[in-house]
Amino acid sequence: MRLPIADPTMLREHTAALLRRHGRALALVLVLHVLAALAGLAGPWLLGRIVDAVGSGTTTGFVDRAALWLVGAVIAQTILIRYAQRSSRILGETVFAELREEFVTTVTRLPLSVVERAGTGDLVGRTTNDIDRAQHSVRFGVPRILVTSATVALTLVAALVIDWRVSLGLLVGVPTLVATTRWYLRRATPAYLRESAAYATLNGTISESVEGARTIDALGLGRRRRDRIDDDQREAFAAESATLNLRTVLFPGVDVSFVLPIVAVLLWGAYLVQAGLTTVGAVTTIAVYALQIRHPIGELIYWLDEIQVGATSLARIVGVRSVEPDRTVGPDRPAGEQVDARDLRYAYREGHDVLHGIDLSLRVGERLAVVGPSGAGKSTLGRMLAGIHPPTGGTVTVDGVRLVDLPLEDLRGHVALVTQEHHVFVGTLAENLRLADPDADEAQLRHALASVDALDWAESLPDGLATEVGSGGVTLTPGQAQQIALARLVLLDPHTLVLDEATSLLDPRAARHLEQSLSRVLDGRTVVAIAHRLYTAHDADRVAVVDDGRISEIGPHDDLVAAGGEYAALWRSWQQD
């Protein structure tokens, strides 16, 4: 399942709402740009006046005054450009900051079931590539489109005001310009998207080769990887060629569209001059306009193209907002700590239940080990018990209140989940801990680290708890990362904990060390430990064997061993003696 993408209507509405919120700033930017563009048109106009004046014989005084006017226009343009550019850039920054913050806030509130089904890759792609691509359009594209359209429109208006008859010559280029641009813009977006996808694949392949360099060496995968790179380059080359072919039509079409008006203005202008309907100066001005308008129109086409690419990214950014929440906060709050599951069912795909009606009552303060083969539904059960996402059938309650009816911040005070995934977030060690309790003071952080045996190494980091960790900072070992996860639990202080193979990705030595830290964290809490190391099961108050979505055996370790079922068989092979 993919995350949703906004349809054109939603995108339009969202963009319109965004612009409305910044209506005043936008109006100011527009006015400034229009005035700046106006001042920029003075040069050719004064040039035309001088040409006429020289033709009819004039004084140096006139020329000097014209030059002073020109200097005045340049200075006015300079000042206007300064403020127009500043306010449009600031507007771009503000609007875009708003956009990305809205997006990330939405993402952090996405139902986890949606995130899991869509995969992290899609979201990371939207957070990095799409934000990046959209920002190019929003921060630079929108202001530049405003500037260039204002310049083009005003140039035309100015030409019409100076001499509407001569200006008709400018229209000669319009049909070819419109035709080629439309032809191009219709084809450009998919072609450029293909191109950027091809580069993403190529870069992905090479990064994989770098990251997996050792595996390549061990298994002799070199040739396969090189072939893959060559294939990717072939596709990137094909994609580049496709966009190049589009530009091969666009460029000459646009270029010729700009030469034709100059020619037309001169010939048609000469006719009008001869007929006494205009002056050489007016023709000069409009011909120079025709020469100069090429630059803003070229830029406009470029941005219309870019903004289409940006819009597809924006659609992916805005689209996330249309995901429906999977939990609604109810009115009841639990007082007790009793967690119960009743007739619990879950299906990732409709009709394929992973859990087949599990009934389970946790005894307050007990340690329940959940064992069973991979794919039996242990992790799914764990997530249901932690209220991560709603079950498709049955209920999980704490003191009679459904977990999915609790607001998230309340839920975590009751039940928390730690999985085998360990992720050190970018930031300081203290920030990593404060995730669980934003208001924790230094002493509480130290206490939490000390309870999981992590204070020693934490203090020996270059800046202690203020050391930057995670990507780009100090690299922590998987064991240390998991200790941080446990320290967070100390800060979070839930009465019930679900541990989903919390130590399974660690090497056996680190795992054993961690089990000790863990036991201190677990004291006084109800614990559900999903485990594959049987000594965890041995230490538990009760063991639940999950097989094929059902609890096949449950009871104290000794009872199960005595019962001689599947658990007993496993235990014997583990125990050896």
């Binding site: 030059a67 952090t108 060496d217 193979e501």
Partner: protein, 615 residues
């Protein structure tokens, strides 16, 4: 494209490298220069022709005198359009050839270096080098022809202006570079502010990706709000940095209007005086105006070229650093490693390691056990010469030192599969069968041995299903089992597996151990493990301590024997019964005893019994 062989570049210096790339596409570079010059010069001529047209006075209508310059203008304009597009096509070709060649060189090289490349440079940096620095090489081949064309156009304009008026010509020739120099001065503080914003934005992107990657963990413990808030704060920092950039950048934008604008005003003023005096014609005045406006283009190209070339030199140096990492020698350009052809009738060789005293019997399943998993893993890697710093003369395959076989032969015969190997993107079918020539039945059989059938269910389309980047869509256990199936499918004469079941549950581990033993019957297999569920199924066990084999035998035998080494074996294996700390203490004591050999065995037994009593 791509090149069948990207060739061998000189690694001595950035300029030597760029020169080598240029020589490889010399004809193309020449065509780029020619067409760039044509495009620029035809654009430069337009104001001249416009002036000529205006000088006809325009007052005789569209007569022959006007038609001539106007038709010329049309011709030059159309020629310019054609030259432009051909120039663009050639430049893009030059860009792609040089950029792709560099990226291909890098991409191919990292497949030959093993992990030496990431030991030399951080992974992120290598990836960035491939992704962006090879494009920098392309930019050089994009800008240099344009620079040549721009200089040619500048020269043409200069000559035309000097012919009309020496003073104006000199003013243009000296004035515009002066303007460019002033602009370049403003660009400096701007670029530092831009760098600050880029850094802040980079951190923001990292925050975003980081939050999203850790979303599942955040969901488990809360903290989503804290992270959204942190992102907002950083986002506002980026915005503020952006506002600072906007302050400076808008000044630069304004100066870009002011300086050429004033220059233009000067040209108009002076030119108008000349025109009044009759030194130049009104048409020439228009031409000068056109030139002054046109000449900002070559200037832009020149400043752009400066920026690109500086960046490219830095980029090429990074490329050279990656290319200078020596290949491991297993898979070289001269002798590419090709494992596709497989010898089906394989002997089962024996293996011996002088350094540890390990003897791996032919055709059997041997387990390497150690209290310290790193120690046994190190021996395992040495058996296949995987990684750096192994003495290849002291490991023998059927009595022949590996040094005599050569690394390529070692890779072919001995496959070392580490505990958490890398899974590559691709279809399950392709990614499992790394040596080629395996059929689906064999693939399914290997998945069965690794108990990885659930992977088939979790990706749509079964064997045609796609393994995503680093196998992220799979759980840790699934990744490990998939990697095990992949290792089995190499059908290597000697298969060395390092902790192949460390991330799977007990039920699965037991099944895998049993099936693995059956699947490798009659072939030489080494497995590094301390799990009794696996050890139960091996033919032979070697216990390592302090880098040496201290005990050998069957698993049961070692479990039942009463000597010191077997007790140590039990303390490693029977974690279920021994409290960690005590086991460690017992071990440390045992090791002390071993080295000092001062205490008698009874005392040791007493220590050991005490440890047992705590169980």
């Amino acid at each position: 494209m791509p090149y069948t062989d990207p060739g061998r570049p000189p690694l001595a210096s950035a300029s030597a490298y760029l020169w080598w790339v240029a020589r490889g596409q010399a004809g193309l570079v020449a065509r780029c220069v020619a067409w760039s010059t044509a495009a620029f010069v035809s654009a430069a001529v337009l104001p001249y022709l416009l002036g000529r047209a205006i000088d006809t006075g325009l007052d005789h209508g569209a007569d022959a005198a006007l038609w001539r310059p106007v038709l010329l203008l049309l011709g030059v304009g159309v020629f310019g359009a054609v030259a432009n597009v051909i120039e663009h096509r050639r430049l893009v070709e030059g860009w792609i050839r040089s950029a792709f060649r560099s990226s291909q060189l890098l991409g191919h090289h990292v497949t030959r270096t093993g992990d030496a490349v990431t030991a030399e440079l951080p992974t992120g940096e290598v990836v960035a080098t491939v992704a962006s620095d090879s494009l920098r090489v392309g930019e050089v081949f994009w800008i240099v022809p344009r620079l040549v064309g721009a200089i040619a156009a500048y020269a043409v304009v200069a000559v035309l202006m000097l012919q009309a008026s020496v003073a104006l010509g000199v003013a243009v020739l000296v004035g515009l570079p002066a303007v460019a120099a002033i602009l370049a001065l403003v660009v400096k503080p701007l670029s530092s502010r831009e760098a600050a914003q880029r850094a802040a934005a980079g951190r923001l992107t990292t925050f975003g990706a980081d939050t999203v990657s850790g979303l599942r963990i955040l969901r488990g413990i809360g903290g989503e709000e804290v992270f959204a808030e942190r992102y907002r704060e950083q986002s506002q920092k980026v915005r503020r940095a952006g506002v600072r950039v906007a302050q400076t950048e808008s000044v630069l934008d304004a100066l870009k209007a002011l300086l050429p604008g004033l220059f233009l005003a000067g040209v108009v003023w002076y030119g108008a005086h000349l025109a009044l005096a009759g030194t130049i014609t009104p048409g020439e005045l228009v031409t000068f105006f056109g030139y002054a406006a046109f000449l900002t283009q070559p200037l832009d190209v020149a400043t752009e070229a400066l920026r690109i070339l500086t960046r490219a030199v830095v980029g090429v140096r990074r490329i050279l650093r990656v290319l200078s990492v020596p290949p491991t020698g297993a898979d070289t350009r001269e002798h590419p490693l090709d494992l596709a052809s497989r010898d089906t009738a394989q002997p089962a060789p024996s293996l011996s390691d002088e350094e540890s005293g390990l003897e791996v019997p032919a055709g059997r399943l041997t387990a390497l056990v150690s209290h310290d998993p790193d120690e046994s893993a190190a021996v395992a890697l040495r058996l296949g010469l995987l990684g750096a710093g192994h003495d290849a003369t002291r490991v023998r395959l059927d009595g022949v030192p590996l040094a005599h076989l050569g690394l390529a032969e070692v890779r072919r015969r001995v496959v070392v599969a580490e505990s958490t190997p890398h899974l590559f993107t691709g279809s399950l079918r392709d990614e499992l069968d790394v040596r080629g020539g395996t059929d689906d039945a064999a693939r399914l059989a290997a998945l069965h041995v690794a108990d990885a059938h659930d992977v088939l269910d979790s990706v749509p389309d079964g064997l045609d299903g796609h393994v995503t980047e680093k196998g992220r869509s799979l759980s840790g256990g699934q990744r490990q089992r998939l990697a095990l199936a992949r290792a089995l499918l190499t059908e290597a004469e000697v298969l060395v597996l390092v902790e192949p079941t460390s991330a799977v549950d007990a039920h699965t581990e037991a099944r895998i151990a049993e099936r693995l033993a059956a699947a490798r019957t009659g072939r030489t297999t080494v497995v590094v493990t301390a799990s009794p569920l696996v050890l139960d199924h091996v033919d032979h066990v070697a216990l390592l301590d302090g880098g040496r084999v201290v005990a050998e035998g069957g698993h049961r035998e070692l479990m039942d024997r009463g000597d010191l080494a077997s007790r140590r074996y039990r303390s490693v294996v029977s974690r279920a019964a021994a409290d960690d700390a005590e086991a460690e203490r017992a071990l440390d004591t045992a090791r002390t005893l071993d080295t000092a050999r001062t205490l008698d065995e009874d005392h040791t037994r007493e220590e050991d019994d005490r440890a047992t009593a705590h169980r």
